[in-house]
């Protein structure tokens, strides 16, 4: 079946620029992402490196202006999203691609009950009788683990705990059985135990419903728990991509290594935790060459003069650092610098 082979989502060389008063901000600077069916793909990176902008652009929710899609293509099941008219895109949103937001409190409308809002999500795309929609709502609430759905559907968002609100948000996202769910840091605002519950819930739902999940986070602990493959983003670029075991056991980019080093761990007890010096560069004032070189422990003079391409380590594992490739690279791949 050719349908099975086409990735659910494929982003090719996407560039998103922001035009403000000053110089143009290159928020997303040419990224490629592929997500297959039933796959959980994590996008990791510090705040301000373009993760959320990528998600919004895929959804077609990028505020334009000031944002501008400067290049690249986005395919959803082989269909080019950037060429679709707004109305067709709107029908796709929610029905085939759904999004879960970071703040479950503010993402629910405070004046409607959650049952009402889930109902709204269903009826936005499907013509169902009131009774059928109600049955679906109750089923969804049950699926996301909200106890006593019959009663709880009458609750207003402010009457629910953070975890339950996020469960309600997930129920809304699932309402029309999407093929892809984009989760933008859905557990950041929750405490750790609730976070674990939500992750478990998402995984269970994914298996039951055969969806793909694009999970955006800055928490490597979450990544280890749920991801099949990982993209590490830095300053609007993918700096490393590979399976979860590649990323965690043999990271090939200094940034990935620095992120892993800054995780607390048992063997680091009593030591001062590592932190990466400096900040993510402002997207309008990126350094020349490799954007990470000012903060990099392995930097060499040519890092500032040449732009690194992705170096292939095989099995889909790629990293944007020729320096490490030269010292540790495996045979058979290729890697080069690009002149600026």
């Amino acid at each position: 079946m050719s349908q099975d082979d086409t990735p659910v989502l494929s982003v090719e060389d996407l560039r998103v620029h922001f035009h403000g008063d000053g110089p143009v901000s290159l928020a997303v600077d040419g990224i490629d992402i592929t997500i297959h069916r039933r796959e959980t793909v994590c996008i990791v990176g510090e705040s301000g490196c373009g993760k959320t902008i990528t998600a919004l652009t895929i959804m077609g929710l990028l505020p334009q202006p000031p944002g501008k899609i400067a290049g690249g293509r986005i395919f959803f099941k082989g269909q080019s999203l950037l060429d679709l008219p707004e109305e067709a895109l709107r029908k796709l949103r929610g029905r085939h691609i759904a999004m879960i937001f970071q703040e479950p409190m503010s993402s629910l409308n405070p004046v409607f009950t959650i049952g009402n809002q889930i109902n709204e999500a269903i009826l936005a795309h499907e013509t169902l009788s009131e009774d059928e929609a109600l049955q679906r709502t109750l089923q969804l609430l049950q699926d996301v683990g909200i106890p006593d759905p019959q009663k709880r559907r009458h609750a207003y968002p402010h009457q629910l705990s953070g975890g339950q609100r996020q469960r309600a948000m997930i129920a809304m996202a699932l309402a029309c059985g999407p093929d892809l769910i984009i989760a933008d840091e859905p557990t950041t605002a929750l405490d750790v135990t609730v976070q674990a519950q939500i992750l478990k819930l998402l995984q269970g739902l994914q298996q039951k419903r055969q969806m793909a999940i694009q999970y955006i986070t800055h928490d490597l602990g979450v990544v280890a728990a749920i991801a099949d493959r990982v993209y590490v983003m830095y300053a609007g670029l993918i700096v490393e991509q590979g399976t979860t075991s590649h990323i965690f056991s043999s990271p090939r980019h200094p940034y990935t290594r620095a992120l892993l080093d800054s995780l607390p761990g048992k063997e680091k007890r009593g030591q001062r935790l590592y932190s990466i010096p400096g900040n993510v560069p402002h997207p309008a004032y990126k350094p020349t060459g490799c954007p990470f070189h000012p903060r990099c422990q392995h930097r060499q003079p040519k890092c500032a003069r040449f732009f690194p391409t992705l170096c292939d380590y095989g099995e889909g594992h790629r990293a944007r650092c020729p320096i490490l490739y030269e010292s540790e690279g495996t045979v058979g791949g290729r890697c080069e610098w690009k002149n600026l």
Partner: protein, 390 residues
């Protein structure tokens, strides 16, 4: 799979420690009961509403129980609580109550019956005019707040003009012209969309590019319209319009409504400006809900509080305007009684028969005051920052 005891426990905990389920309306009612002035306003309003409703039933129809138009010249200018002189009256002319509660006017008409009839006029004028104003205000304010930054293009102005002319032609029964314009306009629009209005600017032929030039933002258009409307002294604007139109209750309501929507528009726009940036709007958009539904179904309920307040205050001012117009003789045409024209008729006899001016005057004062009190109280209740902390 969760173990059974664990699940049961969770259910118990959730039920026991949830706050009691109060809908926003019940919460508002609870707060209203604590605000005595607003409560007084509401009680007077409900009382007035009941009076107006029964008054309408008692004074309308072919043979009303209390006939406000019954002229009894021999009974003119009787003081309040006077008994009718049964010897000089025909049996049909005797008032049903057997007493002139508020006296009679210079034609011997029962002022109480006339006040009842006027109450219904005031009520309908207040509500219908405000309903018109609020509908316009919500619509324009919502558009202005939500689409504020979108620019209007030359083509859109052209299309609106064509549609307007077509409608005008249709209204004057010039059907061939109207149909021609409608079809021509639609064809032009489709051709424009096909060849020039696409997302890719480069595909637009140079000759047509001026059509997609932005002129001004939606926000500018609507808010400057509001500014223009506010420039007119509204009472004189209403007077002018009413003087040109045939006098009728409906014209008064429509004209008051059409000249008092600006405040609501500004309120709604201001609310929308902050609400449209909220996450739940982004979430609704991510669910693929259409813009119109987002505006009126998702954002609007969050913005009703100031609208409700301004509507309540607006009812009072619409009643006052109607009374003023009737007083000046531009209001509801004479045989029909309104508070304004009872007052106007009575002013000639203010020293001989003060009840003719005092009755409508005091009632107008009390009702308008009640609405204002209720509106102010509602504002305090619906704005958490103004709530009294006890």
């Amino acid at each position: 799979m969760e173990t059974r005891p664990n699940h049961a426990q969770e259910t118990i905990v959730d039920d026991a420690y949830m706050p009691p389920s109060l809908s926003p309306w019940r919460e508002t009612w609870r707060l209203l009961r604590q605000n005595s002035m607003a409560l007084i306003g509401l009680v007077i309003f409900m009382f007035f509403f009941g009076i107006a409703l029964t008054g309408m039933l008692l004074t309308s129809g072919d043979a009303p129980i209390l006939d406000p138009a019954q002229i009894r010249l021999q009974e003119k200018l009787r003081p309040p609580l006077a008994r009718p002189n049964l010897e000089t009256l025909q049996p049909a002319e005797v008032p049903e109550l057997g007493i002139y509660l508020l006296g009679t006017d210079d034609l011997g008409r029962d002022v109480f019956a006339r006040m009842l009839q006027g109450a219904w006029v005031s009520l309908t004028v207040g509500f219908v005019a405000v309903a018109i104003a609020v509908a316009i205000g919500i619509f324009l304010g919502g558009l202005s707040g939500y689409y504020g930054q979108e620019y209007i293009q030359v083509i859109q102005i052209v299309m609106v003009l064509i549609a307007g002319v077509a409608l005008w032609l249709a209204a004057t029964h010039a059907w061939p012209g109207a149909v021609f314009l409608a079809i021509g306009g639609a064809a032009g629009w489709l051709l424009y969309r096909r060849y020039a209005g696409g997302s890719k600017k480069s595909a637009t032929p140079d000759a047509l590019r001026w059509l997609s030039r932005p002129i001004m933002s939606v926000d500018t258009l609507i808010m400057r319209l509001v500014d223009i409307m506010l420039c007119f002294p509204s009472f004189f604007l209403i007077l002018t319009v009413v003087a040109l139109l045939p006098p009728s209750l409906y014209n008064i309501m429509v004209v008051i409504g059409l000249t008092s929507w600006m405040g609501t528009t500004r309120f709604v726009r201001a609310e929308f400006l902050s609400l449209r940036e909220q996450d739940f709007v982004a979430a609704a958009r991510a669910l693929g809900i259409s813009d119109m539904r987002i505006i009126f179904r998702h954002i609007m309920p969050n913005a009703v509080a100031p609208v409700l307040v301004s509507a309540t205050l607006g009812i009072a001012s619409a009643m006052l305007t109607e009374a003023g117009l009737s007083f000046l003789g531009f209001g509801v045409p004479p045989p029909h009684a309104t508070w304004g024209n009872i007052l106007s008729d009575g002013k000639d006899f203010i020293f001989d028969a003060p009840w003719l001016t005092f009755a409508p005057g005091i009632v107008i004062l009390v009702v308008v005051l009640a609405f204002n009190l209720f509106g102010e109280g509602l504002r305090d209740i619906l704005n958490p920052k103004l709530r009294k902390r006890t």
